[in-house]
């Protein structure tokens, strides 16, 4: 790890991945489920029945998984390239 990487506290690192992704996943969930009713999606795609609460919740976690992965990848790729392959 480079100095630039190390000099932020761990809470900040974790928050930087989980928190913005939480917010964007929230927005995505609201937009998506305003347009589509989870029960309708399930009925149309033939996956059987689920309650709307379950639909919203699962939808939210799928979004969160996606957004947090992209946040984590961003953090990973912004590591300076010089360090790759070097032992610190």
């Amino acid at each position: 790890m480079s100095a630039a990487e190390q000099d932020i506290p761990n809470v900040q690192k974790i928050a930087a991945v989980l928190w913005p992704s939480f917010l964007t996943a929230g927005v995505a969930t609201i937009l998506f489920f305003t347009a589509f009713d989870p029960q309708l999606i399930m009925a149309v795609s033939g996956y059987g029945e689920i309650s709307r609460m379950a639909g919203y919740s699962i939808g939210f976690f799928i979004f969160w998984l996606l957004t947090s992965s992209s946040c984590a990848l961003t953090c990973y790729f912004r590591k300076p390239c010089d360090d790759i392959g070097k032992k610190s």
Partner: protein
């Protein structure tokens, strides 16, 4: 980032420093009372609102399972999403406006993070005692007494958090039913999950994370400086008056000792919930809670010095330039706010509480009846978004010779009801000059001819 190594050494040493727990000391004073009443009002509203009833339903309910939002006499549907979006934009501009005017008023008095942290601090003080007792307790070895105090505190916190989570979910599913199923242990899995999730978030944020939420997680804290200018109200220490700081006897004359008014009692640091020293100047960690103002005023009072060594002021005022409230930035925010609010109110007033959806049968393009008419099949959905029930009449137009046949004669929908009716449109082929036509479906309430929607549907005939 080409930082010189000595700087890295310096900065990393305090970044590495393990997070020090902040023990905010209790304060009394004008701003503390203001915050106290703010906390009571806001939390009172939060815990009370879901229990309010209105016209036989929960007064404020964002009924996610039913996909309907109730706010007193208003009912919103997913189609009304635009209002919610507009409301959020207005809220954002209001925040910009107040930030430019009065700095971080929001942070100090109204932010849920501040408000809940305050309540958690009360509970902590109530169980563990004041700041010094808390520090001593944390340093002391784990003995019976410490164990009892700590577990009492956490039990209190957890109970309060659980109630908070329950209330939160009560905004999204009817709270009476939620309460009933909680008592009968028949709570749905997702309701249970979200109660725990929100409760746990409260416990973590207000009990453990506290100022770290403001420093590391709050987007507003990061960008609020963009809305600041030299006329924005901030909390500041009066350098010229306070320095050089130093302790002295109450009877001593500071001028003789060559000292400023700051007695270096460090009380302002002890009360600060984010653990900073306001005497170091404006820092982004400062949430503008004015605890340091209250406590320093108390000290100044005891010393018989003038109050306001730490005070609400503006950057201009500190430098002796008169502050201006009415500046271009304020006019921009203000006119945007007024315009958007007016637009929102107007569009809500003219909102028609009626919707008609037309879904064309996808299985067949058209059909020829025994009489030789061309027929298309549709499914109509009537959504009555009004407070009252209505009976409707439906007619079709758009081209000559349209005949509308409904599967149901009586179109009656209760308040909030959605009715679905299969319908057929028949047209004599003599009138059909091209393949496709737009047919107009006109839906009118029988008791109010203003309550009318016209919706277009596609009619498809044979190739000529």
């Amino acid at each position: 980032m080409g930082t010189p190594s000595d700087q890295i050494e310096n900065s990393s040493s305090d970044f590495y420093a393990k997070h020090k727990k902040v023990y905010p000391r209790e304060v009394h004073g004008l701003f503390a009372s203001l915050r106290f009443s703010g906390v009571l009002t806001l939390l009172g509203l939060y815990y009370f609102i879901p229990w309010m009833r209105w016209d036989g339903h929960q007064a404020v309910l964002f009924d996610l399972p039913a996909r309907k939002f109730y706010i007193f006499s208003l009912t919103f549907w997913p189609q009304d999403f635009i209002y919610l979006a507009a409301l959020l934009i207005i809220a954002a501009f209001a925040l910009f406006f107040f930030t430019a005017l009065a700095g971080r008023l929001w942070c100090g008095y109204a932010c849920p993070q501040t408000v809940w942290t305050e309540v958690f601090l009360w509970m902590e003080r109530w169980v563990e005692g004041d700041r010094n007792k808390q520090i001593k307790l944390d340093k002391s070895p784990w003995a019976k007494n410490k164990l009892i105090l700590k577990s009492t505190k956490h039990t209190l916190w957890l109970l309060f958090s659980a109630w908070t989570g329950f209330t939160f979910v009560g905004y999204f599913t009817p709270i009476l039913e939620l309460g009933a199923s909680l008592l009968q242990f028949t709570l749905g899995p997702w309701e249970t999950f979200w109660i725990i999730f929100y409760g746990f978030a409260t416990y973590g944020n207000a009990g453990w994370m506290r100022e770290q939420v403001c420093i590391y997680m709050c987007p507003y804290a990061r960008f609020q400086s963009a809305m600041f200018d030299k006329n924005t109200l901030i909390i500041s220490y009066d350098d010229d008056r306070g320095e050089p700081r130093g302790s002295r006897k109450k009877s001593a004359d500071p001028k003789e000792l060559g000292l400023g008014d700051c007695v270096d009692c460090t009380l302002c640091v002890q009360v600060c919930p984010t653990g900073i020293d306001i005497r170091d100047g404006l820092q982004y960690q400062c949430i503008g809670c004015a605890a340091c103002v209250d406590v320093c005023n108390e000290v100044m009072g005891k010393m018989k010095y003038a109050k306001g060594l730490v005070r609400y002021t503006t950057e201009n005022a500190i430098h002796g330039i008169p502050s201006r409230i009415l500046r271009p930035r304020m006019f921009v925010y203000m006119s945007l706010l007024i315009f958007l609010s007016a637009a929102l109110v107007y569009s809500m007033l003219i909102r028609l509480p009626l919707e008609l959806d037309i879904i064309r049968d996808r299985n067949a393009l058209y059909r020829e009846t025994n009489e030789g008419l061309i027929e298309n099949i549709y499914t109509l959905r009537i959504i009555n978004m009004d407070e009252q029930a209505h009976r409707y009449t439906l007619t079709a137009g758009g081209i000559e010779g349209v005949k509308l046949i409904l599967a149901k004669k009586d179109l009656y929908a209760k308040s909030g009801e959605v009715i679905t009716i299969p319908a057929r449109i028949q047209i004599d082929p003599a009138y059909l000059k091209k393949i496709g036509y737009d047919i107009e479906f006109i839906l009118t309430a029988t008791d109010n001819s203003e309550l009318q929607v016209i919706e277009k549907g596609r009619f498809i005939g044979p190739l000529k």
